[in-house]
């Protein structure tokens, strides 16, 4: 359609405003001095302070949960991608009995409610002394990170033309050689997308982190923020500051990779 309908432009403006305004408000409020927070601050803040940010890092040691989130999300993503790429290759390029079953199984695992896994995992982790540890989070995280990676990678590899691999096979490469020399170099955009999306999901995760960690040394960022306690009232200033800090890496990733993210989301979801 060449004519851009006027009402749509207005609608777009309203919608975008509606989605962005809360974020703006949170950021603006995080810079508002404590006293003003419990009034309604003006739309454009005149009084700015970094008190909340300072308190966040000096008093609450917020860099600890940030580090924890980074370690857990990073390790999980690395593992999920490596294991997932091998699995995705097998599922898309090799013919074997039970292939559909495995694909269905991976899909099924990605659909189950996380809360179902909490009781047994809790007991198992406790028995293994892994409560409140990095391993004790990475392993449960793989329960959703691995199927997610596999799903995204399968979607991507399916779009890669198989003829180039056939040429490699005829040229004398074994399956593994073809995988290493031809498929992996050509698939890295898809792998990158899968890694980004997996990382975001891990960074986001709340339930497992809440259930399997005990204190700030191992809390991830979302859990730490949710459990902030103030002396007299809810410490909104610090909570908002922490929210901004937690979201910054996410925003950076989204800005840098938005095209990949959108492709990964839509390809993975809209297969067909």
């Amino acid at each position: 359609m060449t004519a851009k309908p006027r009402p749509l432009s207005v609608l777009r403006l309203l919608l975008v405003f509606g989605f962005v305004f809360p974020v703006y408000w949170a950021i603006a409020s995080s810079f508002a001095p404590e006293a003003r927070l419990f009034d309604v601050p003006p739309v454009v803040p005149t009084d700015v302070t970094v008190d909340h940010y300072r308190a966040l890092f000096e008093e609450r040691q917020f860099w600890l949960p940030m580090r924890n989130s980074l370690v857990v999300a990073g390790s999980t993503t690395a593992l999920a991608i490596v294991v997932g790429t091998l699995a995705a290759y097998a599922l898309t390029r090799l013919r074997f009995r039970g292939r559909t079953l495995v694909l269905a199984g991976v899909l099924a695992v990605s659909m189950l409610p996380q809360v179902s896994l909490v009781p047994p995992l809790y007991l198992a982790l406790r028995a293994g002394g892994l409560i409140n540890s990095y391993t004790g989070l990475v392993l449960p995280y793989l329960s959703f990170a691995l199927p997610l990676s596999i799903w995204l990678l399968v979607g991507y590899l399916r779009q890669l033309p198989a003829e180039v691999e056939d040429a490699a096979l005829i040229d004398g490469a074994s399956r593994l050689q073809a995988l290493w020399h031809i498929v992996l170099p050509l698939a890295w955009p898809g792998v990158a997308t899968a890694a980004i999306l997996t990382f975001l999901y891990c960074w986001n995760e709340f339930l497992f982190a809440l259930s399997f960690t005990l204190g700030p040394e191992r809390y991830t960022a979302p859990v730490a923020i949710a459990l902030f306690r103030g002396r007299y009232q809810v410490p909104w200033g610090e909570i908002l500051a922490a929210a901004v800090v937690t979201t910054l890496p996410v925003v950076a990733v989204v800005v840098a990779f938005e095209r990949r993210i959108v492709e990964g989301l839509t390809a993975g979801a809209m297969k067909g």
């Binding site: 013919r95 099924a108 198992a124 709340f206 979302p222 949710a226 938005e258 989301l265």
Partner: protein, 308 residues
């Protein structure tokens, strides 16, 4: 040269493939068996026993389907199901409508598409728990800007304490979920919109159809598959909601906004009724499984298609 059995010999290429395939799949199978398979099996087993960590003197007696009977009769569980169904129905509907509107506006945008996508992706990318807190702040009884706006616009006569009211508490919860998930739906629908052949609209224009007719006769029908996929995805997620409600209301006031996941969690880690919580988990899992089957039934032909 003895004639080899055709099937056996011909299958050699496939046999090598098979061995390699299982080799490549083995780490996945091991990990998933470890963190999903055994735990689920354990949950099933556990749900058939009485196991209350606060009453260890009861031991670990086999209870058959007692936990399930209790669950079905449990008014709090039934309330949780009702809450979850209500939440899912309202959120998903709003997200579909909002997502469609957003997708349409983005589809017709001529400039700044990338910026649009980034801005719209932000709510989705922010950790759910964090966005929950954000909305709690926005709806706060004293400092919340929502109250300021409503009172200022004379829609309310005075500030409301949203999160304390059993019915009104749903407003921030649903608002937060719609805010976070509409962009995701919009992106899925946008991809669907972009795959519609432009020349169909031209043909319709020549045939005399105006913008509304074009939307109803061309866009909507061709977008249906994408809508179904988006709806199924969101329904599945909405059914499992935990983070938002935990952070916004903790299930309260009382248990007025408790979802199924939240109740299971509470039974588990707060009241330590492992056997019972396991039964709840199994029920939740079974329900999700059924929903999933429905989803696969509609969209699965595409998902599970294997090409070679």
């Amino acid at each position: 040269m003895s004639p080899a059995a055709p099937a056996g010999n011909a299958a050699r290429v496939d046999v090598e493939d098979t061995r390699l395939a299982w080799g490549l799949l083995s780490p996945t199978v091991v990990v998933l068996a470890l963190v999903v398979g055994f735990p689920l099996a354990w949950t099933l087993w556990e749900s058939l026993h009485v196991h209350d960590l606060r009453m260890p003197w009861l031991g670990y007696p086999f209870a058959g389907l007692a936990n399930y009977r209790d669950a079905v009769a449990d008014p709090r569980f039934r309330a949780a199901i009702a809450h979850t169904a209500f939440f899912a129905a309202v959120s998903v509907s709003l997200e579909l409508v909002g997502g469609l509107a957003l997708a349409l506006t983005m589809h017709h945008a001529t400039r700044g598409r990338a910026l649009l996508r980034v801005l719209v992706l932000l709510p989705w990318a922010i950790p759910t728990a964090v966005s929950g807190l954000l909305w709690r702040f926005l709806f706060d009884g004293q400092a919340g800007i929502v109250n300021a706006i409503f009172v200022g616009a004379h829609l309310l006569d005075r500030s409301h304490v949203w999160l304390v009211d059993p019915t009104m508490a749903w407003v921030p919860i649903i608002t937060a979920d719609v805010w976070k998930s509409t962009p995701f739906v919009a992106l899925l629908l946008l991809a669907g919109l972009q795959s519609v052949d432009e020349s169909l609209y031209d043909a319709a224009r020549i045939d005399g159809a105006g913008p509304w007719r074009q939307f109803v006769e061309i866009t909507l029908p061709l977008l249906m598959p994408a809508v179904v996929v988006a709806a199924a995805f969101r329904a599945l997620d909405a059914f499992r909601v935990f983070d938002l409600i935990y952070v916004l209301t903790g299930g309260g006031p009382g248990t007025a906004t408790e979802s199924v996941s939240l109740y299971t969690f509470s039974a588990l880690l707060q009241r330590l009724r492992f056997g019972y919580a396991s039964a709840l988990s199994v029920i939740a899992f079974a329900a999700t499984f059924v929903l999933g089957l429905v989803y696969v039934r509609f969209a699965g032909k595409h998902l599970l298609r294997v090409d070679r």
